[in-house]
């Protein structure tokens, strides 16, 4: 078998694939953060908890009601998104005029509550979700083995990312969103229901996280703590890419996943730290981020 730097080619491609998939998750999550940040100007510290909720809800709906994967793919983001709208309406809205630091801390508190409650109910060891039958197996691409489900994750994540980009950049609703980012008071003056828009935006961003959670359920272990560690990595990804552009968030996410995968192949001990190290380098040499305009 052909080798590169002492690593079999198949192993390298396998890790690259895992990297791209992790990157797809980073992209989805940082995209949701960017959407929320655009209008609410806050970083949603509950984003990891929402991702986790998406996965948990998927497993629980299957175990309790036999809800299948495809239904969950729509239902879980809808449920979690609704939950997000409620959080925005009952909690975040009450401190909307205050320093943004408070909303950030509020979402952190919410994350602690969600995670803590679920740990009590389900423990930290994790739940099992059986892969839908149609995704079992895979195809041999000649240079590597491609499991069907992993291919689907990449396709689904890219579709949703592109769809989000399209809605925000090309539709009327998106133009409201972008206008709200610029000057929400003026937009209110034009008769657009800004508070509603803010609620829906938060709900949508959270739903993106839940969608990532559903995608993750069959391949990662579903536990109440799966969100918090992922979220910190996503924060690093956001710092690296900047939240200036949606395309930037997607590209940075996938790029970081690939770098992580490569590190796992060539120097495993550093794989959990490599994204943070990239962040340090970016801060040193390009402090506003790869795609960022803001400070």
């Amino acid at each position: 078998m052909s080798m590169i730097f002492g690593v079999p080619l198949a192993v390298l491609f396998g890790q690259l694939l895992i990297g791209i998939i992790n990157g797809a998750f980073y992209a989805l999550l940082s995209l949701g953060l960017a959407v929320i940040f655009g209008l609410l100007k806050i970083i949603n510290f509950a984003h990891g908890a929402m991702y986790m909720l998406g996965a948990m809800v998927t497993v629980l709906m299957f175990d309790a009601l036999g809800v299948n994967y495809w239904v969950a793919l729509f239902l879980a983001p809808l449920l979690v998104g609704t939950f997000g709208v409620l959080i925005e309406y009952f909690l975040l809205r009450r401190i909307a005029g205050q320093d943004h630091i408070y909303s950030l801390l509020l979402t952190f508190g919410v994350a602690l509550i969600i995670q803590g409650v679920l740990i009590n109910w389900f423990g930290v060891s994790g739940l099992r979700y059986t892969m839908p039958d149609m995704f079992k197996g895979g195809v041999n691409l000649g240079f590597m083995f491609m499991p069907y489900y992993r291919a689907w994750v990449i396709v689904a994540a890219l579709l949703v990312c592109f769809g989000t980009w399209f809605v925000i950049e090309k539709t009327k609703l998106g133009s409201y969103l972008r206008a709200g980012t610029e000057d929400s008071e003026l937009m209110q003056g034009f008769g657009i229901n800004v508070p509603l828009l803010i609620s829906l935006t938060y709900g949508f961003g959270v739903a993106l996280a839940a969608f990532a959670g559903v995608l993750a359920a069959p391949i990662y272990s579903v536990t109440p703590v799966m969100g918090s560690s992922t979220l910190i990595v996503v924060f690093a990804v956001v710092v690296i890419g900047g939240m200036g552009s949606i395309g930037g968030a997607i590209i940075t996410g996938i790029l970081m996943g690939v770098i992580e995968g490569l590190t796992k192949t060539f120097y495993p001990p550093a794989s959990s730290a490599v994204i943070f190290l990239v962040m340090v380098l970016v801060l040193m040499f390009r402090p506003s981020g790869l795609f960022g305009k803001e400070a």
């Binding site: 009450r94 401190i95 630091i101 919410v110 602690l112 943070f276 801060l283």
Partner: protein, 331 residues
């Protein structure tokens, strides 16, 4: 009080009010000091020391968050690096005076703090919070994989040793008064910093950074220095904590700890001197009492709830709300 007639009178009134306020503060501080001196005869000294260590941690954090307006989400890194350094040195070099071990831990946290500050200062606002959180996670991974920290197991049986080679710190009472002395020294230091011209600039940066820049202050240098002092004091807290409990573990490096110190500061009252102390006392007590009762598995969600309620209902914290009340009713 008579209406002042001219500027000289007004000046006199202000000076008198200031003096009266200073007297009140002096009395309050005296009462607190007496309480702290007598406390170990009433309460369990180790528990009191735990409160003092976390209070110092929160005081350190508040210098940055409450007085400079920078939200660091990575202060656990300094607590842990102080604790691990001190623990490692005291465990491996027997006979090393404890104060030198603590000094070394403080130095480690200070250097780490400088690194954090130089990197994170390049981004502002929420990015600052994210950068510090990510850097602290990097430090966490380092501690997980390092040999010297004992990884998941942590460090156990760190000897308390002798202070100045004379005073046996294995004795809880001796240890308590040492911790109290260090705490008071650090607290007074922060008090002096905050009321110094330097502290005034920090407050100015917090209130209106562009204005401070336009007045000619090199804002970044002030911020970096505040960050480094804050990290150093957090290192003192971590070092002392590892000596008191003879234990240093990954818990101290976890993001959860960074969140806890924010909660302590917020609940007690950010931007007040006494607030973090009150907040730390409150949170440590809540955690302790909950862990003893039927709600022991619910500590985290309850702390999250306290977070949410504090942010929604009383952002000034316990001390801040009391100050407001006093000003309104007895002003």
């Amino acid at each position: 009080m008579n209406q002042p007639q001219n500027t000289a009178d007004i000046h006199k009134v202000i000076v008198e009010q200031q003096a009266a306020q200073d007297r009140k503060k002096l009395i309050l501080n005296g009462v607190l000091l007496l309480f702290l001196l007598a406390a170990p005869f009433v309460f369990y000294p180790v528990f009191l020391m735990k409160i003092l260590c976390f209070a110092l941690f929160a005081v350190a954090f508040n210098l940055l968050f409450g007085f400079t307006g920078l939200l660091s989400f990575g202060h656990a890194a300094f607590l842990a690096s102080g604790g691990y350094t001190t623990g490692y040195l005291l465990s491996n070099f027997s006979g090393l005076p404890t104060e030198l071990g603590i000094l070394a831990g403080t130095l480690a946290a200070t250097i780490l703090g400088l690194g954090f500050a130089l990197l994170s200062i390049r981004r502002q606002g929420i990015y600052f919070a994210m950068v510090t959180l990510a850097l602290a996670q990097l430090v966490f991974f380092f501690f997980v994989q390092s040999e010297f920290t004992g990884g998941e197991d942590g460090m156990h049986g760190i000897p308390r040793g002798q202070l100045f080679g004379l005073i046996n710190l294995e004795d809880n009472m001796n240890m308590y008064y040492f911790v109290l002395a260090v705490f008071i020294a650090c607290y007074v230091l922060v008090q002096r910093i905050v009321s110094s011209p330097y502290g005034q600039v920090l407050k100015a940066i917090k209130q209106n950074e562009p204005r401070a820049v336009s007045l000619g202050y090199n804002v970044d240098r002030y911020k970096v220095l505040a960050f480094v002092i804050s990290a150093a004091l957090a290192g003192v807290a971590g070092s002392m904590k590892s000596v008191v409990f003879q234990l240093a573990s990954l818990n101290d490096a976890h993001w959860h700890m960074s969140g806890e110190v924010i909660l302590m500061t917020l609940v007690g009252g950010m931007g007040t001197l006494l607030g973090p102390v009150v907040g730390a006392t409150f949170v440590v007590n809540i955690e302790y009492h909950l862990s003893q009762g039927p709600l022991r598995d619910w500590v985290d969600p309850i702390l999250g709830g306290v977070f949410v309620i504090t942010v929604l209902a009383f952002r000034s914290g316990i001390v801040g709300e009391i100050q407001k009340f006093v000003r309104k009713n007895m002003g």
